[in-house]
Symmetry: D2
Subunit: 253 residues, 4 copies
Amino acid sequence: MSNAEIRVAVLGAGGRMGGEAVKAVENAPDMELVAAHGRADERSAILSAGATHIVDLTVPESTEANVRFAVEHGIHAVVGTTGWDAERLQRLEQLLAEHPESGVLIAPNFALGSVLATAFAAKAAQYFESAEIIELHHPQKVDAPSGTAVRTAQLMGQAREAADVAASPDATETALDGARGAEVAGIHVHSVRLRGLVAHQEVLLGSPGEQLTIRHDSFDRASFMPGVLLGLRTVGTRPGLTHGLDGYLDLGL
Amino acid sequence: MSNAEIRVAVLGAGGRMGGEAVKAVENAPDMELVAAHGRADERSAILSAGATHIVDLTVPESTEANVRFAVEHGIHAVVGTTGWDAERLQRLEQLLAEHPESGVLIAPNFALGSVLATAFAAKAAQYFESAEIIELHHPQKVDAPSGTAVRTAQLMGQAREAADVAASPDATETALDGARGAEVAGIHVHSVRLRGLVAHQEVLLGSPGEQLTIRHDSFDRASFMPGVLLGLRTVGTRPGLTHGLDGYLDLGL
Amino acid sequence: MSNAEIRVAVLGAGGRMGGEAVKAVENAPDMELVAAHGRADERSAILSAGATHIVDLTVPESTEANVRFAVEHGIHAVVGTTGWDAERLQRLEQLLAEHPESGVLIAPNFALGSVLATAFAAKAAQYFESAEIIELHHPQKVDAPSGTAVRTAQLMGQAREAADVAASPDATETALDGARGAEVAGIHVHSVRLRGLVAHQEVLLGSPGEQLTIRHDSFDRASFMPGVLLGLRTVGTRPGLTHGLDGYLDLGL
Amino acid sequence: MSNAEIRVAVLGAGGRMGGEAVKAVENAPDMELVAAHGRADERSAILSAGATHIVDLTVPESTEANVRFAVEHGIHAVVGTTGWDAERLQRLEQLLAEHPESGVLIAPNFALGSVLATAFAAKAAQYFESAEIIELHHPQKVDAPSGTAVRTAQLMGQAREAADVAASPDATETALDGARGAEVAGIHVHSVRLRGLVAHQEVLLGSPGEQLTIRHDSFDRASFMPGVLLGLRTVGTRPGLTHGLDGYLDLGL
């Protein structure tokens, strides 16, 4: 065994995100990759490899058992798999109460830039008369708006409501169907689908004489890895459950 | 009388566009402002002032009579007033056939940048898989999408059809109402309304691995004046009717 | 006298900013404009008008005396005038210590969007490998980069240094003079001067596979007025000296 | 042999661009890939494969011999390799005069969007008071500004000079070193280097009250392939030498 304090087992290493995580951990000078598991591997191998941390990038069917196994063995977990509903989260909180030394991060989004953009948009929303969102994605995407845009709009809408901000002014009388976008929590959201793009979002905030634009571009799956590494470096110092990478960012928001 | 060859009477000088035109002509070193007419002034005053050109920025009710008066007296006309339907244009063409020395420019848009942006978008549209338009305006605007966006989409759609370009790819299966914008000639058009903005348009073209964006920002009514001056400088050398300022631009498009 | 609790005297009302402030206060439903002073007016008129607050938008030569006069008479002050060096600030702090009920806000920038953009850029700077700034202004501007860009770069550079972030990667070997911009606190800053623009700034942050862009556009002096009003509404509840409008924003930064 | 009329041999297939070209030709329904040559292969294999076209993506040392071989054997050539100086071009023109049925396209840039962006920028440059260029690239790039930016600036500068446009206004009196960028043909050019980016360029044109922005983003080498295919489809109908892909675009510029 090496002296690295962060000894990582990647679960779901056969998937695209998992493959990126394997590379990222291997390249991190303060970490050691001790195991890279596919679907069929036994969980016990995590222990025999001497892992101190797992990265779970598997599937909704196995993520809960993986994380519980880690917590029960004093291993910290960074989780990017979806499927963590309220019931699962509650069960996990109970388990963590019995293992107060273990830390778990469940993050729906590991792109630091995207997490920051959403936090800034939510913070700024109350200071402008108008707010709209444009999200732009590759044309294979099957849903519109994107989940990130919906969540951003909800947070912005809540912030505006809490601060008693009036609805964005809009004198539109005649419009072609769909021209003004979808409305989410009082925020108009526009979804562009364009060949060549990956995942992009622009939050537009306007007041008399000025505009604030917060844009995030995700060009590549590699953009998630700094967030995974930040999670691995932090999770051991934050016992209990943290939901969302913003909990680890020094945002003071 | 001065020696300026372009002696301009501004009609509709009491309006906002007309007031800008008065200032622009006064500041142009190669022109002389010889008359600035409000609504109630007699057309004969154009003659007594020795005008060689008029700029008509009046109202749909009076523009046709103004222009016909100019043509009949050998005065060139630059026209920004709306209301020139097919019938009026045909009558004007007939009159110009009898006065082959007179030039008339009828321009729905005098912003050079906007005219160029539309021309470029139409030209580029056939070379990309995907094409969408975002237009952004002040929140007092009553219609959506803007007339410029609709016209740009129509020209792009025609160019794509002529070149047998397939529809923009779009795998959307589930969408909130309006998320994907309005569809004009096969082009999705999104309308943003934001306090602080004036009139802006962004044409997005995408192919594998690349994007071309053509954006025009109109911050101020002043943006129309270079186009008015270009019209005045050119109309005397282009007998007959020209529709659209692009006819005077060296676009070779 | 009306019942408005915020009774405002605008000092420097003859200047452009002052004129905007007069309009903004007149239109604010919770304020009353009780005096609008030019340069030559007597300060005592502030008292006779029953002002509870002053807005000082005068000149460096008179701002200190104005503010001291206000503090000594229990009047709160919102100050946009430049020229407050360390010595003046120290003298003001001493005076405020003797008048603990008075509040003073000295704000070099009243555009909420600009203040937010700078705060967000400083907060995000440590999370990205690369950081650069592009500022764009009208071509009459005599200095480059803008003061706002320099200050933003300094705050970003400090944040990156505090977090031990390496210098932005840059393999440039051969460059035309000036191509890579000016360097301020390790951040490359590029200054664009373009007819038609007013004051704009774009902070670019990049990491593998992603980019975060924070852009502020100032189209008009009107953009400063929401900040002035926010200052007037808040200064009475914040005794002592506050430097920078961000001190009044709920940023938690 | 199939019935495809465009039977392509890719030379330099072992390189990154060459590998992309192999894939692109394989996927083109109207083409057949008949050979994919590495560096060490014999040119005679082009003939035995029955190629009607070559794509040369090799190195400056071998491109001239490859192209001359093709021309001498009645094979059309699409060339992306650099190193074609005036002397080489002249020798090739002479050879083509003896083989009037052969077509050769030498293209320094195959990204359609980039070629269009440059053409539009050159065309628009004369209609605006101000013009600047921002180019943004990955931080491994060793030169600044990019070759594309320099060429775009030169074309814009020539167009402005030909139209007697005054220099862009600029009142800068005091500037930090480099803040105003590099000057190429009277156009200020700014070079941003940012992790996460690939190759991007923004041409900014400004006049009173308006701005025209022409931006091209190259996210991926795949962006060159539509241009390579367009070249292959067109070169057989354009005997002689064409320099630059814009010669094949229906730009009328």
